[in-house]
Amino acid sequence: MSVVEFLTILLPVSFTIFVMTLAYDDNPLYEIGAYLLIGSSAGWSAVVIIDFLRKSAWTPSFTGKPLYFLSILLGLALFARYFKNYRWLYRYPMAIVIGTGVGLAINGAIGAQITKQISANFLPLVSGAPMTIFNNLLIIIGSMTSLSYFLFTDRFSNKYLGGISKIGRLFLMATFGAGFGSVMTFRIETIIGRIDYLVLPANLYYSIVVTILVLAYLIGRDYLRRKKQP
C-alpha cells in the first residue's frame, strides 16, 4: 500500500471521527476539524466559482459579447464594501441582484404560489368516495383558515373571524408537526450516512483504530484535567 492510498482512507476516517468528538465535549480535535472545514470549503468554493465566472463572464466578454465585461466590473464593485469611502459603489451591483431577484420572484410567485394554489382548492365535495370528500373538505377549510390566521388589521378580526383564525392556527400546528417529523428523520438520516461510511469494509479497521485512539485521548485529557483541579 502506497502512502497516498493509506492517506486516502486514514484522513477522511480520522476527520469524521474528530468532528464527532464534539458530542463528547469541545476539544482540540474537533476544533481542528471545524477550522479545516471553514478553510477548505472557502478554498473549494473559490476555485469552482472562478471557473463559473470564467465561463459565464470572462470568456464571453472577449468572444463576441463585449457588454459582459460590464458584469465583471459590477461584480468587482461588490468589493467596495471593504473600503469606507467607496462603500456606496457596491449598491449598484446589489441593485441589479435585488432588482432581478425581486422581478423573477414576482413573475413566478403569482402563478406558482398564488393562482395555482388558489385553484388547487377547487376540489369535488359532492361526488366521490366519502373519505376523499372528507379529505378535500379538510384541505379547503384548512387552507382558508390558515390563510385567515395571517390577517392583521382589526376590520378582519372581529370576534367571528377571530375564531376562524384560531382554527387556522391548529392546522398550522399540524403542518409544523409534519415539519418536526421530517426534520428529525432528516437529521437521523445524515448521521446514518456517516456511520455507513465508517463501517465500509475498506474503512472499518481504520475506523476502529482511530476511534480507540481518539477515545483514549479524550478520556486521558479528562483524567488529567480532573487531577489538576481536585
Partner: protein, 291 residues
C-alpha cells in the same frame, strides 16, 4: 416518596450524553443484525417513478443536483437510478448543479451509472449527455438558463464549447426540455425550478429531496405543479424496491427505523412525565426554580 420523585426528575433531566449513547447503540444494532424490513410504496414516489419510466426515447431531460456530501447519502439511490433509467430509455440528459461542492458527487454517480448500464448499451458524452457543471446558486441563474441554454455559460464543465456538442444542436431554451429532475438536497431551492421553469414554460417537474423538504413539496404535488417526488432515504429505498436496482438506501432505512423507534419511546416517556406533573396537580409557577 421523595426517592421516587427524584428518579422521575432524573429521567426528565436526562444527561444529553445518555441520550446520545442510546441513539448511537440503536443506530448500530442493524449493522450487526439486519432486520429485513419491508418498504411500503407511497403515492408520490409511485408517481415519480411512473413519470420517469414513461419518458419516450429521445426525450430531453434536465437533471439538477444540489445535494452536498452530507445529504448525498439520502438522495444518491433515487438520483443515480433515475439517471440510469433515463439512459436505458434512450433519453438525452443535460446535467447542471447549483451547489459548488456537488460536481464531484455527479462524477461519482456517473461511474455507478456507467457500470450498471445493461449489456450492449453505451453512452457517449456530447451525444447522450452533457454536463455544464456548477452555475451560481441564484434564481436568476435558472431564469437565464431557461431563456438561453447556451447563453449562461458557453462551455461545459470540461471546457468544450456547448455549440460544438451534437446533443446541444436542437437545445436552445428551457422549452426544448421534456422534463426537469430537480435534486434539491436539503437546500429548499426547488422554488427556482417551480417558478422559473415549471410556471414559465409548463415543463413537467419532478423532485428528489431530503426528507426535510417533504412537507413543503407535498403541497405542490397535490396541486399538480410537481409531478412526483422521492424524499430521503425512504424515497430511495422505495425507488430501489420498484426499480429492482440495488443501492444503499434500503439498508440505511434499518438503523433509521430502529433509532426512530427508540427515540419515539424516549419522547413518549418524557412527555408522559411532563403531562402527569403539569396536569396531575396544581400547575407550578414556571420559571420559579433554578437549579
Amino acid at each position: 416518596m421523595a426517592e421516587k420523585k427524584s428518579l422521575i426528575d432524573k429521567i426528565q433531566d436526562l444527561d444529553p450524553k445518555i441520550i446520545y449513547a442510546i441513539l448511537l447503540v440503536s443506530l448500530l444494532i442493524p449493522y450487526v443484525r439486519p432486520l429485513g424490513l419491508p418498504i411500503p410504496i407511497s403515492p408520490e414516489t409511485r408517481a415519480y417513478w411512473d413519470y420517469i419510466t414513461h419518458m419516450p426515447p429521445g426525450s430531453v431531460v434536465a437533471v439538477q443536483l444540489a445535494s452536498d456530501p452530507s445529504t448525498i447519502p439520502q438522495t444518491r439511490s433515487s438520483h443515480q437510478i433515475t439517471i440510469l433509467r433515463l439512459f436505458e430509455q434512450d433519453c438525452k440528459v443535460f446535467f447542471f448543479t447549483l451547489r459548488d461542492d456537488a460536481p464531484p458527487l455527479h462524477e461519482e454517480m456517473m461511474k455507478w451509472v456507467e457500470a450498471h448500464l445493461s449489456a450492449g448499451k453505451t453512452i457517449t458524452y456530447g451525444v447522450n449527455y452533457v454536463n455544464i457543471g456548477y452555475v451560481a446558486d441564484a434564481e436568476a441563474t435558472i431564469a437565464s438558463l431557461v431563456a438561453d441554454v447556451k447563453g449562461l455559460v458557453e462551455q461545459d464543465a470540461y471546457g468544450n464549447s456547448l455549440s460544438s456538442l451534437p446533443m446541444m444542436a436542437d437545445i436552445n431554451t428551457g422549452a426544448d426540455f421534456d422534463l426537469v429532475v430537480w435534486n434539491d438536497g436539503s437546500r429548499g431551492i426547488y422554488m427556482y425550478a417551480l417558478r422559473q421553469w415549471r410556471e414559465k414554460l409548463g415543463t413537467p417537474l419532478v423532485i428528489i429531496a431530503a426528507t426535510i423538504n417533504k412537507p413543503g413539496i407535498m403541497n405542490y404535488i397535490q396541486s399538480g405543479q410537481v409531478a412526483g417526488g422521492a424524499f430521503g432515504v425512504d424515497g430511495g429505498a422505495q425507488i430501489e424496491t420498484i426499480s429492482g436496482y440495488l443501492g444503499d438506501a434500503k439498508k440505511a432505512t434499518e438503523p433509521g427505523s430502529l433509532s426512530a423507534l427508540t427515540l419515539t419511546i424516549l419522547l413518549l416517556v418524557s412527555n408522559t412525565i411532563y403531562i402527569s406533573k403539569r396536569f396531575g396537580k396544581q400547575p407550578e409557577i414556571k420559571g420559579g426554580e433554578v437549579k
